[in-house]
Assembly symmetry: D2
Homo-oligomer: 140 residues x 4
């Protein structure tokens, strides 16, 4: 749970516009919205990957998420989601994240990771990562 | 990540009404809504605890969350959130969860846990768990 | 904008479970969630209608909404959405609503209506209401 | 319900970032999110108004909303909310809106209006609009 800053550059960084509606009755961004911010960044990254990141026989599914809430996010705020490759498997990848100030990546709001698995939707079985994803994540 | 069923009875079990709006464009409940279901169950449990679970000098804060997505939730669905005490600290508690079928607690949609810390909002420092919470979590 | 109570019985009445996350930073249910409550009630009503309420050539689309916010909704609260047929057209219907106390339908939180149009998705043109819908709305 | 374009310049125009999570199971932005987009634009406008737009004895409350859904919004999309003063009362204002393409204000996704009333929260009675709001809305 320590806040070590990664030494590598992020895979991708996406600015996110915090909405007033993301606040809950405690006047801070609700904990569930962090997953929405991660999802938005992840989808923008996937659109940005050259090549095909999904097909009829290989669709990404979210298998797990882990989030540390380091400091509250308020409205308005200028934040960004940085994505990292924490682990590259044969059919899955662990995507680390840091939610930071858009203008100050040392201000850490959240870190953690999600596990994504590529599955064949008709069989429900894991399949190999699409080549484009493996390359985008630093695999050979 | 194995799906071992806890042998203890849950602290609390809350039926949750899935809404059609919880679905995303993949026609499954979006991953962020799981945190909303957990929050709703947790708040109902806290209201149910006899005694005071917060005060001006001791407010609960969500420090971390970990969620495994075991099988997709559809609409309509009758589900329930079961809460467990996974670990009792001096100022924090780890609350495990299982999202299951409301009529069939062997159908496991999700498991995982959140870490809650009680803090003094004026100092930002952790404080001892309120007595009511300690008792409700099985502490002496 | 007067709060006249309808003399007819509602088409359908759906209890709705208010979630804590529906509150915004003003500690009241956010205005956008009223549309989610109406949607949930409408879909439950449509599932309940005997016969087919949509087909490949006739899908309902929301064309307009009008909502009066009469008094704030808090959490927890036991509310219900009552639906009425305000107007029956050839390809559209105006569905009135009242959001009331689940145990006290004289406590009015909101009223108003939405306009639904049945369209052919391939042509984008309005089509006749499905027979099942016309009957459910009191048409011959 | 005709789509006449206003001849006056908008009071305010706010770009909005559509999120993938705004889509529902029909793969279009859900109707409830339009109110969230309007709220976000309204709050940005209010922050932008020189002078005080609320006080302990004069708080704005949403009294009613009317929305026409002209064409579906998809993800990703670059949209903007334009706000207009449709009517200026003594304690209320009708704020018209147009949701348009961020780069093409002739592409109309939605129009309609909301009614805002300034109230004294302790008495629950309407009060005169704050001077700053009256001026911002073109009143003397």
């Amino acid at each position: 749970m320590s806040e070590t800053k990664p030494t590598d550059a992020p895979l991708f960084s996406a600015p996110i516009e915090v909405r007033w509606r993301d606040l809950d009755a405690f006047n801070h961004v609700n904990n569930s919205n962090y997953l929405t911010y991660l999802e938005e960044a992840r989808l923008k990254w996937l659109k940005h990957v050259p090549g095909e990141w999904f097909s009829e026989t290989a669709m990404p599914v979210l298998a797990a998420s882990q989030i540390n809430y380091r400091r509250p996010i308020e409205w308005p705020a200028r934040i960004a989601v940085e994505l990292y490759c924490d682990r590259l498997g044969s059919s899955s990848a662990t995507i680390g994240h840091r939610i930071v100030g858009a203008d100050d990546s040392d201000t850490l709001y959240s870190d953690g990771h999600v596990v994504m698995v590529w599955m064949n939707p008709s069989t429900g079985k894991p399949v190999n990562l699409p080549e484009a994803i493996r390359h985008a994540l630093g695999g050979e």
